[in-house]
């Protein structure tokens, strides 16, 4: 994959992510906060972005969304080392729900 294509794909992913996030927040804020794993300030920031701003933010060379399973246990769990798939997913969900929201640093 050459660099231009890579950048293109990053931009597309960013834009899709932001648009989806924005739509989720507008439709149902509490549920969106839970699904996105962000806190209220971050959600409000995303909510009031204009399309032009979204495009500008999305156009960087870095991905805007990051992994939520930042600990080892959770990673293992999602990849399903446990024999029972349903149990693994429930376990992962309990861990993810117990994590804090991603804040915007002041």
């Amino acid at each position: 994959m050459d660099n231009a294509q890579l950048l293109n794909e990053i931009r597309e992913t960013n834009l899709t992510y932001l648009l989806l996030a924005q739509r989720m927040i507008k439709e149902d804020k509490p549920a969106a906060l839970f699904r996105l794993g962000i806190n209220k300030e971050a959600a409000e920031l995303i909510e009031c972005l204009t399309p032009a701003q979204l495009l500008k933010i999305a156009a960087g060379n870095m991905l805007l969304c990051r992994f939520r399973f930042d600990n080892r246990v959770l990673g293992d769990m999602l990849s399903g080392y446990v024999k029972d798939k349903i149990m693994a997913s429930s376990h992962a969900a309990v861990l993810m729900a117990g994590q804090g929201a991603e804040p915007i640093a002041a």
């Binding site: 804020k29 509490p30 549920a31 906060l33 839970f34 699904r35 806190n39 209220k40 600990n71 246990v73 769990m77 029972d84 798939k85 349903i86 149990m87 997913s89 429930s90 376990h91 969900a93 309990v94 861990l95 729900a97 117990g98 929201a101």
Partner: protein
């Protein structure tokens, strides 16, 4: 009821309908809405087509401790806690939203939901009354529902240390057999 407002009544009715559709029992509706008992009864019959079940609600905290309900209850209460901490919603609104998110999880993973809305609601009330609390598992760090006032220094959750007979129900055995027969055929 002094100062009856039509708008607030409409809102309450709307919420009551939502609650009934998600399987709330009459006791929950009476506690969480300001509508009269007769109205709620009528509403219940209209939405569900049957009379509400009679009798008391299950009141034991022990149900939430047994293996499978514990996992579901823990998931629900973690969602609920997240919502109340970050989304600034309270009371029945938070319970209903958390319950919907919990149902979604079950749907996404094709598991049968174990909690009902009424169970979830009583779980939240048990937490408010400090009969139950959560404690972190020492292995995975997830928060799980436990009784208050017990010692949990080396607590390991039911998912990190699965009891040997857990999940081996009659139904699961039948499903496994059906699958085997299908593969053999």
């Amino acid at each position: 009821m002094a100062g009856k407002s039509l708008v607030s009544e409409a809102r309450q009715t709307h919420m009551a309908i939502d609650l009934i559709q998600h399987g709330a029992r009459l006791q929950l509706l009476e506690a969480e809405t300001t509508l009269s008992r007769e109205r709620l009864l009528k509403l219940y019959k209209e939405v569900r087509g049957v009379s509400p079940p009679k009798g008391m609600l299950p009141f034991s905290t022990d149900w939430f401790i047994s293996w499978q309900p514990n996992i579901h209850a823990s998931l629900f209460i973690d969602i609920h806690r997240y919502l109340t901490a970050h989304a600034e919603i309270r009371g029945i609104e938070a319970t209903l939203k958390a319950f919907k998110l919990y149902l979604e999880h079950c749907q996404a993973h094709a598991t049968e939901p174990v909690l009902s809305l009424t169970r979830a609601w009583s779980l939240v009330r048990f937490f408010d009354a400090k009969l139950l609390q959560t404690t972190p598992c020492t292995r995975c760090g997830g928060h799980f529902v436990v009784h208050t006032l017990e010692l949990y220094d080396d607590y390991v959750c039911g998912l990190c240390r699965v009891p040997s007979r857990a999940g081996k129900t009659k139904k699961a055995a039948e499903q496994a057999r059906a699958l085997e027969l299908k593969q053999a055929a």
